[in-house]
Symmetry: C2
Subunit: 665 residues, 2 copies
Amino acid sequence: MNKKIQFGLYTAAAGLALFAVALLGSGKNIFAQMSGGLGSSLEAIIKARELSPDDVEAALKTFVPPGSYDEYYMFASGGQAGNVEVFGVPSMRLMKNIPIFSEDSWQGYGIGDNETKKLFAQGKAAGMTQTWGDVHHPALSVTKGMYDGQFLFANDKANGRIGVVDLRDFHVKQIVKNPLIATNHCGAKLTENSEYYVEGSQFGTPLPYTKFVPLERYKEEYRGLVTFWPFNRAEGKLEQSKTFTIELPPYYQDLGGMGKQVSNGWVFINTYNAEMATPDDLKGKPPMEIAASQREMDYLHIINWKRAEELLAKGQLKYNRISGMRVVPIAEAVAKGILYQAAEPKSPHGSDVTPDGRFITVSGKLDPHVTIFSFDKIQKAIAAKNFEGKDEFGIPVLRFKDVVEAQVEVGLGPLHTEYDDKGYAYTSMFLDSSINKWSLDKPAGGEKPWTLLQSLPVHYNTGHLVVAGGDTIKPYGKYLVTLNKWSLDRALPVGPLHPQNLQLIDISGPTMKLLSDTPVVGEPHYAVMIKADKLKPWKAYPEVGYSALERKASATLTLPGKERVERNGKDVHVFMTAQRSHFTPDRIDLNQGERVHLHITNIERAEDATHGFALSSHNINLSIDPGATVDVDFTVDRSGVFPFYCSEFCSALHMEMMGYLTVKK
Amino acid sequence: MNKKIQFGLYTAAAGLALFAVALLGSGKNIFAQMSGGLGSSLEAIIKARELSPDDVEAALKTFVPPGSYDEYYMFASGGQAGNVEVFGVPSMRLMKNIPIFSEDSWQGYGIGDNETKKLFAQGKAAGMTQTWGDVHHPALSVTKGMYDGQFLFANDKANGRIGVVDLRDFHVKQIVKNPLIATNHCGAKLTENSEYYVEGSQFGTPLPYTKFVPLERYKEEYRGLVTFWPFNRAEGKLEQSKTFTIELPPYYQDLGGMGKQVSNGWVFINTYNAEMATPDDLKGKPPMEIAASQREMDYLHIINWKRAEELLAKGQLKYNRISGMRVVPIAEAVAKGILYQAAEPKSPHGSDVTPDGRFITVSGKLDPHVTIFSFDKIQKAIAAKNFEGKDEFGIPVLRFKDVVEAQVEVGLGPLHTEYDDKGYAYTSMFLDSSINKWSLDKPAGGEKPWTLLQSLPVHYNTGHLVVAGGDTIKPYGKYLVTLNKWSLDRALPVGPLHPQNLQLIDISGPTMKLLSDTPVVGEPHYAVMIKADKLKPWKAYPEVGYSALERKASATLTLPGKERVERNGKDVHVFMTAQRSHFTPDRIDLNQGERVHLHITNIERAEDATHGFALSSHNINLSIDPGATVDVDFTVDRSGVFPFYCSEFCSALHMEMMGYLTVKK
């Protein structure tokens, strides 16, 4: 391990002196010829800002000049902010918020428009509208195991939901709710060609969770599950009617690793709380954090989903219909060779399949090793029916020693592992607060296999990490971002609640180098990083009058010259256009008690010519991208004079882009 | 004007070659001794990333090394995102979102908790809850004309509201709604010691706007206004019962400049649409953007609020009570020498008082000059009763030539002016897309007064700008940020809706230099920038069991060991504590139809030990800072098993910080 590059060990003062000498040398005169004396001013800046040589290097590696583009997009979950945030890498600038489960009035999401109302209706949990979500694991659609830049998926842990985002317009197209479970976790994982989105439950509940069963019957009647959601790529939608679900024990399902290449067709899902502890502290039960951490080993579910799919297609797999979902009982899954388990070390989190699909790295947070399971050995043990026994639910348990390829002692709190393009693995160390690099079986640098190579200190409590393309079959490498949970003294204080913090690390060389800190809004729980050139977002909608949700021309589009008000009893339909800098019509006179239906088409074709539509006192703000038609309807139940105006800056006469909606008593 | 520093004119290729030569010179060997060969790697980075010398300079000026702090906080409105965003300068990193009018589930704002419910109830418009706002002008509290770092104010243009934020915890403490007006605009301006928050209307409406009056009676019955909200600093609240309001003509009131020092006691409010145009395009009326831009001159309202305050205190100012507000009619304000006007050039936006209070710069977007009014001349003209006449409402109009000190031809689309510490002014040029620097009467560099000195091209459609401390009596200078409206090709595309874009400019030297681009989420409409050391945010609440909204110990606090469930008929009160990594109680068994009241106290004293409380399927997510007590209550109307868990990462056993709420049918 190169001690020199370790964070905090570098003597900035000494380095600065040397650096200043360098700049004061013969280079100075040459600097002086440049840009009105850049050389000396450069030196003055470095001195004044107390930058160390490492700082200078990091500044030059991360600065993206005005108007230049970042090399990668990073999609990071916003956690309980209910969104996904889009960053540019290496600048780490926040480019976009994608609201999924939470409202975002900037983009008109959830503030009156009918499209969000439809999405929020799809996403009801136990019959109740939810205006937030807890996004844990964003995932990108893949083709042949590589990001194709078409769709983004995100799960809502709090309510067991999944959102689908089209990356042409960065809009949500669908929210689905798993009716069986309260919470999900190992979501946001796609099979090799995005055939399925794989959703695992988290906290055990009755199936469905809307059925009351007392906690005393936890082992008997509470369960976990994994649901396979077919993805219809042409429609951009998950198909609930075609899902299938495998019932699982009421251990808490955690992250899942998707098989790749040789292991395609399989999924490997961690669990914790194999103890099946349940809470009741006021009655003297031990705290969950202790009761659920008693055992040395938990279980890795090993699931052959391809076989389940095939047997289902042939009608050879029994299932029960529960809440409309096809649920394969544990016993049936075991009987048909679909479900196995292996013991895995304590309180695992990451279950991460290597790019070639040959190995699964499991990180047990309370074990100082990462444990590398061999897919080949798993297959052989299954073929030989070489089990050490069964768990309480009758699931065969493979012998640990038979299926483990290696264990690497990495330190305290290994949590999540991703891979680069050169045969190395990177594990976030939750307790050690470091990123640890180790070799797979064939590292490009020829190091010893399965060996810890470097530990780079990062700051407090790193959770997940992301390597560019790190969960594809051919990672890009180059950058790694660690998603740290506490920020404390890392940035200016902003009240009791500090931002969490991303740290960008350069992994292009033989040793990792820390580049920068980025405080973030929300909880960036997990992230994926894709090359920028893979995305081709729309600059305007394909045609004027487009419905973003329906992905086709809207039934209510209005073309220029066709603006009108149609009255049908108490229903008043206003067909409106928006164009710099005018709404037509710009006056709407109504009588109290009427129901108004606004159908607004942005008839612009120019890039970035988005218009807003804000209506005072009605909790309505729309964002209408060029070409889009947006609808909103409401009953005018209060009299008065209500201005509306364009809320998205559009032109020099933006301030005049307004009108009045009046309501006569 | 130094052409060399103009954006886009620098030949990057030539510069790069020179720079590489400099690095390849004798400095190389010295570089080689540092940090494992920094010198050569530095050169390689500059080459590989195609950085020009200007880029290198900008990188070094803006990079804030990991763990280091920014020098300034910038508070930027989020526009229709309904929030204020906190940036660090010069890194331009987004440090925090302050949700004000919009929900933010990350911080538990608006997602179930009773405190937000109270705030949202305060902020009802025309009786309806609004879950968004359009924040235009954030303002910082001032003492003797300087930012004191205590409070932040923000207006909601869409609904005529104001939010008050305490900068100790960055939480909103109050939302007030002006019952008279639908929309406001010249908000967010404080008098010299924060005695008043001054709110101007925007679009003309009847007073109150909830009274229906047809648009045909616009001149007769529609009006504007300015309301003076006394600020009780000890309570951190605006006092609605003590406000007073001056009725104004139904021109559209725009921005207002607060008097300072010599002009303290006065406010200068721009207007546009002096034409009093009203819309009705379907009936053939001309578009508002044309009808409202006919006249060459609009009116600057010149208001002596100090005199109004004094006369009111003596009972010598007549007012009407409308919707509970004290409204001084135009005629009374004129009769008592409170209200004057001056003609001002076309469609003005910024009305910006110089730090010494002697001048007011007005920027008419459709006039190529900035017009500098002299407070002294205004006073003399008023004393001499030297008016050119009166407007349609009887307000005396001062002669333009009598009150104007200078006009500086700056170019197309001047919009907003701020000042530095050296006698210079900076005006954003909306149409020219530049920041133009010009001299006041006594520039430190000895240049000719009232003269354009430099035009720095920035990109598309700069709106407002901010200089550090730029609206205080003693600006800090050093940095300027321009808030650009369109971003187009400035950053990676993210769907039809591009982010808007901030550009950071170094104004410390004799010429301005562009440093960096920062795409932003939401619309950063306006910003204020304060030295970082002025803020002293809390790291934990002063005592365990603190109510953030009440700013004192909560009546429902729960201390460790006192956790309990109290039943009173159908009301179930749960007194809960949260501490790493446990909720007590962690099991809540209820019967359908009961009303549960959760009172949760975070008993942590450690910095950043915030806990979340997410309850599945109930649209509840709370963020409970160390020491805080948060309450939520709801009726359990659906049976089932609902896990709750800590949604703010807190420890290695965060995943186990959970419990169950069960509801029996």
